[in-house]
Symmetry: C2
Subunit: 357 residues, 2 copies
């Protein structure tokens, strides 16, 4: 049966001061009045019943997740004792799914993306699921690039395999690391490259078989955890074993070397909302290009993102600026330097200002 | 005997969000760890005993003023039921002073200026006081300009009268309205123009006589108030009469037409701290030109003023910006547009956001 696994393990320092250690990005209402994780769930709900939707998140945010998604059986929210990259995460979910449903087929979705055409999105998922149900193997969904993005990894398309419900299944040639701008331009013109979205489909059994073949150490750890699931030792084994799992991404650790690896080009409007300025991709701006939320007063500003979770924020005559205010912290950064927000978080750590971390 | 009257009636919308209706500029610690009004008092204290230092402020801030200046007899803090410009304010103070001391000579000082050379400042006050004690008339202190400022009115020097304790007393030729930049440059080069500091000296009796001669209506109102002082009707008469007093500045309403009007050029370091960027004149910046107070994290910013009264404020890669955060409001404005902060306050009024006004 078809399951969905939402990967909600991100830490999200890029969204400080709204994101905190105990409230990472996926719990923020960045694109609408609902948190991204809630939007991700609602996007799946017409396709898959709540009993077969799973979330993997940090143990610390299991409670927050259950509160946000009360439709899910509580046991469908899986807590990772420690983040161990995506191969461990999807492997863990596959162990759990297989135990509930030996025939489980699943789609894997990041919790923190925004997707414009939900119907088209769900159709593409079904096409991918049909491919891995019919042919086995591991499948990744790739976005047709609309700009020479340097912030994403890319997928290089291989030969066409077949058409499924209006989608073209390709072999996946290879994963490409984040390019420089010249390279990104080449990829965009070439047409044979897709943005790596982090969306996958496979049978749980097939994923575990590929992990076993390519990453025997990870497989061993996952098997140990799998055997403990549902037993009185489950928590103890998880806490002991999970932090020792091999740290590697599913892309390079499992997908790229898989015996059967497919990709589907998709082209719905999509954003990974990677930083504060990315809100401009997913929110409506006023005629001056200003996105504002909360109690904001704007006098003569343009092309800016101004958000408040509480205090009145007044901006006067600024351009290209991001201002975010919470009840205890304020960030001011030009949009083109937003990646440096990580340095702020690092500095807060250094100073030991844990109340705002 | 020598008295001092501190005029502390300003509303200070230019310092929003730190200044509020119930906490105007003179109550803010803008230049040091003490409020400007407190600094003004301490600057006078070596010269004049607390019993002869008076403060005129809005009735709403009388309590705040008494708390800030516990050395003063409570009755030395005078409450204006309504701001009626400076002629009314100094006239009111002269009525009060004359009642306590028929021979009162006084210096009048704004509550919200910062002065660098306190010893030199006090010496200049004494020279001015000696002039009005010896010769009568009204005297204003003028700062020798150090820049072509367009934010101040100017004084045009008349003929030299005499030397007093190393200071040169001039006739005052005329008051000049705030100039444009070209004119300000001319004034600076000319050498015969001073910045109008709002600092005065006179005998209370002489001021009241000039008001009577030039502004009979104002004089009448002030006399009514004067007669009620110390009687059971004092408060009622003040509340009824004060709001009807003629609204005019002491400069144009009284000084300029006075029979004897003097000025003394002074040249101590001085700032009227007229706006947030003016903090650069009165505070030490770091090597990148950033002034920061409170819990501020600065990554790669320059030439900015970053203040927090509570929240952590992180600024990344900004230049020439003012950021001020209080517990319930945040202001972000380029230094060269700081005068527009008034528009913010106007907009808050329009929206009825009284909690941050």
């Amino acid at each position: 049966m078809l399951h969905a696994v939402i990967m909600a393990g991100g830490s999200g320092t890029r969204f400080w001061p709204a994101s905190r250690k105990d409230r990472p990005k996926q719990f923020l209402a960045l694109a609408a009045d609902k948190p991204l994780l809630r939007m991700t769930y609602e996007r799946l709900a017409p396709l898959i019943p709540a009993q077969r939707i799973w979330v993997v998140t940090a143990v610390d945010t299991v409670g927050l997740t259950r509160d946000l998604l009360p439709e899910l059986p509580p046991e469908n929210v899986l807590g990772e004792p420690e983040g161990r990259d995506t191969a461990a995460c999807v492997g863990f979910s596959a162990q759990v799914l297989r135990q509930h449903d030996p025939e489980a087929v699943c789609v894997i979705l990041p919790a923190d993306h925004v997707i414009g055409d939900e119907e088209g999105f769900r159709k593409s998922l079904l096409a991918g699921v049909r491919q891995v149900s019919d042919e086995g193997g591991l499948l990744t969904f790739g976005l047709r690039p609309t700009a020479p993005e340097i912030g994403f990894g890319y997928l290089h398309l291989g030969q066409v395999v077949r058409e499924v419900d209006g989608f073209t299944i390709h072999h996946l040639d290879r994963f490409v690391e984040k390019p420089d701008e010249a390279m990104a331009r080449t990829y965009l013109q070439d047409g044979g490259y897709l943005w790596n979205s982090g969306l996958f489909a496979w049978r749980a059994e097939d994923l575990l078989a590929e992990i076993k073949r390519q990453l025997p150490l990870l497989s061993e750890g996952l098997s140990k955890i799998g055997k403990a699931l549902g037993t009185p030792e489950e928590t103890a084994v998880l806490e002991e074993t999970y932090p020792t799992l091999q740290r590697i991404s599913v892309d390079f650790g499992v997908m790229e070397g898989a015996e059967k690896c497919w990709t589907i080009p998709v082209d719905y409007p999509w954003s990974d909302v990677g930083s504060w300025p990315a809100l401009r991709e997913v929110s409506l701006a006023d005629e001056a290009g200003v996105i504002s939320r909360g109690r904001v007063v704007n006098v003569d500003s343009a092309d800016s993102v101004i958000l408040s979770e509480g205090p009145v924020v007044a901006v006067v005559g600024v351009k290209g600026l991001v201002v975010v205010a919470t009840k205890d912290a304020v960030l001011v950064v030009p949009a083109d330097q937003a990646q440096k927000v990580k340095s702020v978080v690092a500095e807060l750590e250094r100073r030991g200002w844990h109340d705002v971390l």
